[in-house]
Amino acid sequence: MPLSVDERWDLIDKISKQTVTFGAYKHTLKDAIAELTVKPLTGIPVAIAVIYGFWSFFCDFAGTLFTDGFMVRLFDEHWLPWLQSVFPGGLGNPLYALMVDAGHIENGVLVASDTCFESFGVLTSGLFVPFGVVLWAVVAFYLMFAILEDVGYLPRLAVLVDTVLHKIGLHGYAIVPTFLSLGCNVPGVTAVRPLETRKQRFLMITLLAVFIPCGAQIGIMQDLVPELMGWIFLTLAIGYLGFGFILNKIVPGKSPEIIMDVPPYQMPMWRNIASKLWIRTSRFLLVAVPFVLLGCLIVGLMYLTGAMDWLAAVFGPLLMGWFGVPEETVAPLIAGFLRKDLAVGMIGGLMEQGIMTTFQVFTSVVLLCIYFPCLATFVMMLKEENWKEFLGSIASLVAMVFVYGGLIHLVGIMLGVA
């Protein structure tokens, strides 16, 4: 016979009286730190420092040390030239174009690519994007995230941002899926489950899918346009909060307040962190690599068959007129369905060909973040949401992309940079 809730607590009180004694206790240094990191006056500066440290490590470890210091050289100076010299066919050959280097037209002449961002072959860009750039970004991100998780810092961050997130119908806990999505949106979507109501989960999934770029994408962006990162993040944050505010008003349902355990700080256990890091990274590779290779192949085929030019001609006016980006952006937008990192890499290729202004680069990178979640995230959304919610997410997504994309263009025009 099961007990009622009150009977059970009653029993626990009796048991605890006989077995547990709370001794006199002085607050220790650990408690002092625990309290300082959750008090706004001291906690907010600490939070900023933690996030800054996180970002610096991400850039230094992944960007400077591995990607720029080693991988870019390996791929651009050795791998690409070597393949260009040994792969049968040569420039202009369809198989060569798909696998190694499609080249591009300069002054009416087809010329070979200098970098693995430009070449866009399955064996060049297809390997460079995941292994040369993204893997290191993802490892750096998950390492830091696992440490913050194990130390017990995240619940404190949640308390600090609760006030803001409550304004958009969520509560502090939403910082966990948001933060995790900066690594990969797929586990991010899964992490919305501890939010209590359907409304909150819907808001969270939709906002994640639209405004949170993943680690793979951030890694490539940081490599290509480090000087624009501040503006990109600011634009995305404004969109996240602004559209969150609007969605909160439109979507029916309840937004309960936070009720959350704040565990004590713990020394992280390295074995635990290593195991988390390994699981998350290997899962990333499993999802990402096939999609990147497939993406390269599909985009390559679309160029070869002329499908890309046709799409560019059809969507060009819309892209130019509404969003202010050149028709060539159609290719990265299509690749973005499969992998965002690959798509941003393609914008890098377009940049190197001198097709885009800085503002157009900025706009197209932001558009890539917001216009559509990658296929893997999309599948995850389908699993987590019911049909009505899923269609709602898609509808909100389309509306947000057009409104926000147009707005960015408009601001650009007013500032005279578009």
Binding site: L3, E7, L11, I12, S16, V20, D261, P263, Q266, N272
Partner: protein, 180 residues
């Protein structure tokens, strides 16, 4: 036989899991959902027994989707022994979950984890007395350092189902005893 690892969120369950299992650990997908859980094997008395890390839950009355899955996983593995991991510095609320699992008739073994944290906070728990009252094995552990794990593993076999009425009676509960 399977062993389910259950407990509140943030009681050090994943560290616990890592300690109990060997290198052969993998992440599984709960059928029909996107919930992932860890699965591995632990050695008990020369035998490899499957160990499942059930996602953290506060109670068996789920308040969100994540907790719903934990309850389902418990119900789908009727023939399991449950290792209930409690935060020793928050015993009372941990006992709530442990009692719920005991009431459902599962053999339970209680790990009073984060024993070091409780000591730091000058909270002392009479584990022997608690074991006598509940009738299930109670072992203090510290997952981060590995303390208490040998004993925990050796005592899994002692876990047997306990009638909740017996616990209530031993605490002087029930209608008649409540007056005195």
């Amino acid at each position: 036989m399977k062993i389910l690892l259950m407990g509140h969120p943030n009681v050090g369950k994943s560290v616990f899991f890592n300690r109990l299992t060997g290198a052969k650990v993998f992440e599984s997908n709960y059928p029909g959902t996107t919930v992932d859980f860890m699965k591995g094997w632990m050695r008990i008395g020369g035998e490899d027994v499957e160990l499942i890390d059930v996602p953290g839950t506060f109670s068996l009355e789920p308040k969100d989707k994540a907790e719903e899955v934990s309850v389902e996983m418990l119900e789908e593995n009727q023939d399991s022994v449950v290792v209930c991991v409690l935060d020793a510095s928050k015993v009372e609320r941990g006992l709530y979950l442990a009692l719920e699992i005991i009431e459902k008739g599962y053999p339970v073994i209680i790990a009073l984890n984060m024993w070091d944290v409780a000591e730091d906070k000058n909270i002392s728990i009479d584990a022997v007395k608690l074991e006598r009252i509940l009738g299930v094995p109670v072992v203090p552990t510290t997952a981060v350092s590995g303390e208490g794990f040998k004993e925990l593993v050796s005592r899994v076999k002692d876990a047997t189902p306990v009638k909740i009425e017996l616990i209530v009676r031993s605490m002087g509960g029930g209608e008649s005893a409540a007056v005195s």
